[in-house]
Symmetry: D2
Subunit: 357 residues, 4 copies
């Protein structure tokens, strides 16, 4: 932008600007280029965390840091290098690796922040959500929507790690968060294979008559890997048989939904699972809002802002708003994805640009 409105530096102007400061004012004309850019210019940067780096640090935390009331969770937040060291993976999203040692319990609490967990490996932990014990196993996507009491316990002699996703930065920046402590133990140490929520809700195309009221977030506590894998497998088979099923050639994908509405699982977080056939490369896209991927299985690469990064199982990367990105599958590549798309869409800020389209 030119400087049409930047007047000569005079004593009168300085007095004016001092007056602004004294009165808690700040003029638009000195900062509009930064405040209102031509397109989003995120402070957050595209970044990749390697599972090979994350897991050992989590394991050491398990040795050195006890889990318990006060700190609440042995969760290590991914801090976007552009965001000043805060544990924000993006301006809206929190992503952490959480680690629970053998026989440990993370105490119960609840908060208005919406939370999920995704398990890239391991098993043996149950998360207890409003008293309903939910098994956690590799490939499962697990929900703890806002204001539900929840705690975790590890029933085995092995530690377990997983990732947590929440809207903590959004809640913090916009001052919307409430928090309440619950039991120091989990309220039910039973270890059923399927939670009550699943038993009531995980029947395709069916809804219990005892649950006809729509809910803000999904009543399903666990989206099991067996279903996700089957859905992706069927999409690729249908594609092979010549029928439309995938989102692009060789690219199967599902969105996790709230069965009472068909919409996103929680008001602020979208979650999906993507599978690329070996050799597939996605088109380059820019989207408003930030998104995080974790590689679940396979090898490949992500191109973010023009830079290519090799990725493999467990690796996590964040793509801030409007940064161009694409994926490349060296082997079949399975990826879990979450984003702040519900925030962006509900407020009508969504835009997508497909390069070359």
């Amino acid at each position: 932008m030119d400087d049409a409105m930047q007047p000569e530096d005079t004593p009168a102007l300085r007095a004016l600007y001092d007056g602004f400061t004294a009165q808690h004012l700040n003029p638009l004309w000195t900062q509009i280029g930064d405040l209102m850019p031509r397109h989003p210019r995120p402070k957050a940067v595209a970044h990749l965390w390697k599972w090979a780096d994350l897991y050992p640090l989590a394991k050491t935390s398990g040795d050195l840091v006890p889990v318990g009331r006060g700190g609440e969770r042995r969760a290590i937040g991914l801090a976007n290098p552009g965001l000043g060291g805060e544990a924000y993976v993006s301006p809206t999203l929190w992503c952490a690796i959480q680690y629970l040692g053998p026989k440990e319990t993370a105490p119960e609490h609840r908060h208005s922040q919406n939370a999920f967990r995704f398990v890239v490996e391991g098993e043996g932990v149950w998360t207890v959500v409003n008293g309903d014990p939910v098994r956690m196993s590799r490939g499962d996507f697990l929900l703890t929507p806002g204001w539900n009491f929840h705690g975790h316990h590890n029933e085995t002699d092995q530690p377990m790690a997983w990732i947590d996703g929440l809207d903590i930065p959004f809640s913090y920046m916009n001052d919307v968060g409430f928090f309440e402590f619950g039991s120091d133990r989990v309220t039910d140490y039973a270890t059923p294979r399927y939670s009550r929520g699943e038993r009531l809700w995980c029947h395709p195309g069916l809804r219990p008559l005892s649950g006809l009221q729509n809910t803000v977030s999904s009543p399903i506590g666990a989206y099991r890997w067996e279903y996700t894998d089957a859905a992706l497998t069927q999409q690729l088979l249908l594609e092979e048989e010549g029928h439309p099923a995938t989102v692009a050639q060789g690219h199967a994908a599902v969105r996790y939904i709230n069965p009472t509405t068909g919409g996103d699982v929680m008001p602020t977080i979208r979650a999906e699972f993507h599978r690329l056939r070996e050799g597939v490369e996605t088109e380059t896209r820019r989207e408003v809002g930030s998104t995080v991927f974790q590689v679940f299985e396979g090898r490949g690469a992500v191109v973010m802002g023009g830079e290519t990064h090799a990725v493999e199982k467990g690796d996590i990367f964040v793509i801030p708003s409007w940064i161009p990105w694409s994926l490349q599958a060296e082997t079949q590549l399975d990826l879990f994805r979450f984003s702040d798309a519900p925030i962006i869409e509900r407020l009508n800020f969504d835009r997508t640009l497909v390069e070359g389209a």
Copy 2:
């Protein structure tokens, strides 16, 4: 009502009434009590059809009446005794038993009327909906929403019968129906175990990214018995374990839904499946709108308008608007139910009265 507005019969009045007739007019004051009753007074009556009567007549039709273009379907409509012989099970709904002999094909057509099928016994027929072959087996609930081409074919040496439900009376009375002939054969004689719609959509809590646009009717062609049965079984188990899951003590029930919205499967028809434990009796209810039940398994009774009817497998009964009804389970009693509730609710005419409540 009293006769305050019924004036003396004079030559002048007769002349006035003749004038009304000549000008295609009809005064309210002579008919308001009938037209606008204190509560719904349906012409349709509560009625029970016995499967033991229906099936032999369908079988004989199979011997005497060829299926083919023009008549389109060997379907025999249940004609509510209160509706003058028309094949209307209620003012809004059509219910028929359809019969397809060994190796027969019912030709393809499409219509704006919404249709479903429910299979109380048998197997061996595939219904082909917009080119997608859908297996029909006992306990399955199958959809043909408005304006989808569909035909049926029987691959076996055995005949098969099932019930059809449509909104034909509603469409006919309100002049909303379109109809178009398709192929005289079905367009795909393949006999896959699962239809493409199921393979894409029947993964609980998941939605394909290739299907993010909401649809007026469900994209699921077949709701399989295995899922329905499992859902009901889990509800009763959860109840036994002390958790809320059933709609009333001993009464499990699911609604078939459109997974893109969580709402009813089609804009005019609701479908549900109910299971009563042995010995359970439901409360007596009155509801605006008409509903049809078919006994799927077990023995019991229905009380409609104060009259008790014993029911068993295959029996079909209709409950018109505002007629009080309750169910009694002699053995465990499984019932399929469909109704015009979406019409009633979308137009805000719904009311329910639970007697004694």
Copy 3:
């Protein structure tokens, strides 16, 4: 349709058909052509009632028929000649001319049927809706949504006539109607210029904080002619100034809406007002659902099903489903319109065909 499925007339077939009758059954194959036509073939016919015929009969009714409890209203229903003499202007809609003599009162009642009034001429009557007195004057559109108590009284020495529109046929055919008597007098004989509903709600773009809950029907009791006329006038002026504002060249139109949603005023009835510049002719359309027009001012013609009818002030005509129609304005032509479009649209049966388009 051909007769593929019409088998030879044999004793066995007759026995089968007798069996159908005995068991309250009716086969599809003998009647599908009528029940499921290629496009809507309404029994209702396009018809025009002349105000010059209607008004004298209403006036004579005023002399001969007292208004009061039991008959409730001195309302004379327009009986579509295709519907067997019933007072149905179409399968879904009721339209009547109502007449109230000097100093008369029509007693209060309420019903689930949705009602409105439109005033083509006259003034001096107040309709009292849930205790809120609403003045009725030429050009006003007045609402009595379902289950609101209402009565009318004439404060003057002159009689007054207007038209009523309701969903009586729909409610009757589908058994959804409830009715309750209220006071034999109106509960408030005050004659304010503006009703309380108007004073609270008729401020453009504003909503009272005391009324943030959305309502099924509009909270506005009277849509005044001054606003309707101004809106149409502005549309034609904007068109003259070269800006998009009209629905077609020379054709201004507004829809009456529920301000809490922006949608139709009541769940079953749409109401609009149309103004055609002198000389304008509309395109020929077919629409699913039935609609009624009353000429408010001016002269012109309506073409319905290929037949042209001259129309003038007060004339009422009905266009059944899928009958082609167009309007021609000899002078500037003002028309009030109502229809069952909300029923058709909420149930996803809407289709429109513009001829030549």
Copy 4:
């Protein structure tokens, strides 16, 4: 919170924390109390800006700072003292005083940020929104929803000031903003009394048939003071007559709405106008989300977080999330209000606490 999870400071722990830093990680257990407080603990503070301070600084800016391309607007943002000097009145909202000298033009641009203006005094400026000139006068509330080109020009020999409200901080923090320059002049210097949007849309209870598609933001460019004042006057009159109309005794209030939906004017900003009778005091409330008031007329006080501030015409105050507040009217007190409530409600974070309730 206690320190259960704060382990002893050992070399191993320091090495772990250094590893976190090196890998762009940040543990939850050291910061959860700040990040996830028991209830919102906004950094933003309650603050009052006096019009008597603002206006002279704006006037001096008019003398010293030219308006034009680059700086775009002579707008001076209110910088919440808790937010480090940034021109954010709250974490989501921008509020500025804008000043346009005699005959000046502010050039056209558009941005995805949603904007409005409210005029506490003066007249003579037209804002041109997508080519539609909109007069600005005392008491008017004017909209510039996201991505509409707009510029302003002053036709008079007098300067004019008003307040701007936008979602700039929200857009900036969440990286959703786009910006585009338009004409250096406004595209239409006509000065009509009413804009085209008003002429099409400001007819109560009516919607043009040319505008049946719902829009994300309101199509009304100006909400005129005459309507706002009339609505408030009627509410207080109705209250005097004994009818429910106000939001609390002596407290009239309206919300500005999008007539296509009945909802808020823009996806991120709610706007209302409140009138308190002399002597009225509101109950003390806490609400999630931030809100800004400007006194339009009268004298009174606001109590925020327990501190009482006298307020008079033009004064602006902000109430951050969950800070308790109430209003007191010394004279009749008229206040314009805007907030981020649509953000909070669409994401299901809304909560309200009325003290003593």
